[in-house]
Amino acid sequence: MYAQMVKSTGERPKTLDEMAPDERAFQMRVDADIKIEPKEWMPEGYRKTLIRQISQHAHSEIVGQLPEGNWITRAPTLDRKAILIAKVQDEAGHGLYLYCAAETLGVSRDEMTEQLLAGKAKYSSIFNYPTLTWADIGAIGWLVDGAAIMNQVQLQKCSYGPYSRAMVRICKEESFHQRQGYDIMMKLCAGTAEQKAMAQDALDRWWHPSLMMFGPPDGDSVHSAQSMAWKIKPMSNDELRQKFVDQTVPQADYLGLKVPDPELKWNEARKGYDFGAIDWNEFHEVLKGNGPCNKERLEARQKAWDDGQWFRDGLMAHARKKNARKMAAE
């Protein structure tokens, strides 16, 4: 998802009998749905896996501002521009809530930023695709935020208190994101033939990358079992993906758009849609850094970090000076 490929311990979860007493007590609390809080004892693997997962999630929110930010100056009306600014600002907020949640596990904000800029920490593959037309802003809100919501709703129940609370807050804000995106799509689909074609083109390009947001198929994700036992990944990748497809196809029908998958078919027995194979090669390439915009995104983050250095240092110097003056006066 926003954290698509989180390495966990890579081992199968231990049974209660195999665990040391500390670990057993911890697992029993998780099993009983008691939230784990920052200073409490936790297995090292839990702490490390969560840092990876939460920081990937945070980086995704931050990098995710870039493709949408691309259209702020060119939004078609003043209303749309104000809405898009508010939406992108929310994503910055989401990134900040999540960085704070990760910091409670003993990693610093600067360390996380450095890991992102060094290419050591990942962010969602979806943000490495370009936003070519205004319709892409509609498609992102509808599909990308739609997929994000599906993931984040279940994470509200996750076992780590600060992460779960950040998710509750984020979920409250997300539904506006999806609705404003769908609203853009509705407008375009009710417009000229050219506008509708633009909406279709956006759906064609964003559909499969959106399905990839949920991460590799369950059979290929070696780290899921442990994460599920720790309740930091309540639902599996394939379960979430199926839910997303089932929810989204009727919404595409309503718009009069065609989902770009010739194998998409309602399965009455299963009460869900069957859909065609996903190009996992593309997914792995994008994660490796070879997507259409990976380089541009990281360069933009690096530039923001470098350009902001004098500002961060300046404010800190000012705060220290002010503090020293105050102490001298006392």
């Binding site: 508010a86 900040l96 600067d110 609370r165 807050r169 800190m316």
Partner: protein, 94 residues
Amino acid sequence: MKNEWPLWEVFIRGQHGLAHRHVGSLHAPDAEMAVKNARDVYTRRNEGVSIWVVKAIDITASAPGDKEPLFDPSNAKIYRHPTFYDIPEEVGHM
């Protein structure tokens, strides 16, 4: 010198008459900027009428391991709750 802005814990009064409640944390160089940042990060939708910020390092917290000695004694004192006492119905609401 390490220049990461310090961490602040943010407390918001949601409505008049309610207590401030912890909502999260953020980084800022000083208290004034922390209030400004808190306004942008935690009150974009009318969530508050007042903000407190406290440097995270200035907060003293009880240790998770002290939970039993701190809180167990009150568990045993059920007579502190009104439901401990049976008052006959004839007496009326009390």
